[in-house]
Amino acid sequence: MEHREYRYRLTIALPKGKLFRPAVELLGKAGLRTGHLSDEARTLIFNDEENEVRFIICRPTDIPTYVEHGASDLGVVGKDSIIEAGKNLYELLDLKFGYCRFVAAAPRESLSPEGFYPWKPGVRVATKFPAVAGEYLKKKGIQGEIIKLHGNVELAPRVGLSELIVDIVSTGKTLQENDLVPLEEIGQASARLVVNRASYRLKAEDINRLLSRIKESI
């Protein structure tokens, strides 16, 4: 707690990667000084002295953790990461970018000639999202095995690690290139503005002011 710098009114966590640029642009439009922010520099902390806001840059999957523990008041993060993290956060706003879908997909050759997937108990599902994949199997009433991977999930069925994958898809190009066919859409995701429970109460004014400026900029 001692290391917290109280001279900043708000700390905002931003994700490296594909959500970074749109998040920075949106916050810029909402009046924050974001011109100097970068997710490629070694620096992980940036300050906007004028608005007394501090930005921290971290891995998308870590954002829910930073925000849940209050190390950051606010965060921009994909709904996919929120679901998977299962953290106690408040979702204030759908930021309407970073759209993607959760899909289950199988290799084309495993489908019947009519295009159906022959579900069998014990099916192995490779995914970066074990919670989402587990919930999906449960809903379908199928017993299976979830295999957690950290990336390039599309490789798994090709080398016999799994029969299926559950992954997020934005254009579907990766699936196509690996000859995988989407079986079903499991859910949708987009970027969200999340807030820490305590910050939401203790810094209500600052957060609501920023929130209304962001709403106007979406």
Binding site: Y6, E91, R197, R201, N208
Partner: protein, 397 residues
């Protein structure tokens, strides 16, 4: 699993408290209980183990899968208590003599099988109070003022209590034309503060319009208790009873002289299904979770055979400790170390230790003869002031 690797470990979510932390925690709990006793609250203690069905009858503060369960030798299912309120309701329902009101307080360990959070392991300590019997703003404001008093006694300077009302949830849901299942979904979204999800949900259900938007907007309101009067004119009809009750509570808090600790925040809703009226959560800078909370629960006691309103709160002791400044330690003890094995010197040392202890001064007594250097090392190590007894007088620091 008593293998060598586990012999130094404790199960996940459990932890040892070492000096001085353990002492600090004990003193904090005592301080709060002593202060609450000045308000006429009496201590109650219930067993660590309860029948599973007793706890679930209380719509406990933890989901059934968060309970630590075990099997009694006769086959019945037991669980470690996840909070004290349901157990107290059981006692009041069954064996409490006399007439309400009862003012009860407790400090106890509770167990929840959940992800370990800052300042909350799976075993943690709660100190709290329940005011059982009276309904109405007088009882609610007493409990709220008592929570403020307890936090101040603990030495916490900077905190905010978010005051809400479960009637907000039922009021909002009553005006939304929804089927029962959709109602459950909306309830979940509101409780989760998933405002993005709630917005999508309302769009899907065709509930857009300005009227519904402003209803949802109410959930994100936060204001001073003094503003309640002004705002209640603008509040939708379904929230009028809530505003009326909060206004009476706010007026009494003003009289208690503690309204500056409060903010009315209609998004404050507690997950436990047994809450029926005002609810609150306590926040302090630097801790990302509430350090305490509570509210009115008028329908819980009924489940245990005594239909009687009640209101109360609990504080998370570990979280409170995290948010307090390091604070003063216990008085440093004196080290009395014998310089020789002589019988006479030992008697004088014992006599001196008795005298100092009777004056309330903590004394570490070492009767085995020590070199002066060793005694000094030990005093440094234990944070003690050293007095080497050399026969005629006190030596050392």
């Amino acid at each position: 699993m008593a293998n060598a690797e586990n012999s130094l470990m404790v199960p996940a979510g459990m932890r040892d408290l070492l000096p001085p932390e353990a002492g600090r925690k004990r003193r904090l709990v005592n301080t709060i209980l002593e202060r609450m006793a000045l308000w006429g609250y009496e201590e109650i203690s219930t067993p660590l183990l309860e029948y599973y069905h007793v706890l679930t009858r209380g719509e406990i503060g933890a989901g059934p899968d968060q309970l630590y369960k075990l099997i009694e030798r006769d086959g019945s299912i037991l669980a470690l208590r996840p909070e004290a309120t349901a157990s107290i309701a059981r006692v009041v329902g069954g064996q409490m003599a006399g007439e309400p009101p009862w003012r009860l307080m407790y400090g106890c360990d509770v167990f929840r099988y959940e992800e370990v959070q800052a300042g909350r392991q799976r075993q943690f300590t709660q100190v709290g109070a329940e005011l059982i019997g009276p309904d109405g703003p007088e009882a609610d404001s007493e409990v709220l003022a008592l929570a403020v008093e307890a936090l101040r006694a603990a030495g916490l300077a900077d905190f905010t209590i978010s005051l809400g009302h479960m009637g907000v949830l039922s009021g909002l849901l009553s005006v939304l034309p929804l089927e029962e299942q959709a109602m459950g979904e909306a309830r979940g979204l509101i409780l989760e503060k998933d405002f993005a999800g709630l917005h999508h949900f309302m769009e899907k259900a065709g509930l857009t319009g300005a009227k519904n938007d402003s209803l949802v907007e109410m959930l994100t309101r936060s204001f001073e208790p003094a503003e309640l009067e002004l705002l209640s004119d603008r509040a939708p009809d379904c929230l009028q009873p809530v505003f009326a009750e909060l206004r009476s509570i706010a007026a009494l808090l003003e009289a208690y002289g503690c309204s500056s600790c409060f903010r009315v925040d209609l998004s404050t809703l507690r997950r436990q299904a047994y809450y029926t009226g005002m609810v609150f959560e306590i926040y302090t800078p630097g801790i990302g979770y509430p350090i305490g909370g509570g509210g009115r629960y008028n329908r819980l006691l009924r489940r245990f055979g005594r239909d009687c309103p009640a209101t109360g709160f609990a504080l998370g002791v570990e979280r409170l400790l995290l948010s307090l400044p390091a604070g003063e330690e216990n008085e440093a003890p004196l080290l009395l170390a014998a310089g020789s094995e002589s019988e006479a010197e030992r008697r004088r040392l014992l006599e001196k230790a008795r005298e100092l202890r009777s004056q309330g001064c903590p004394v570490i007594l070492e009767l085995r003869p020590m070199e002066r250097e060793a005694a000094e090392r030990m005093a440094r190590e234990k944070g003690a002031k050293l007095i080497v007894w050399t026969g005629g007088g006190c030596d050392g620091a």
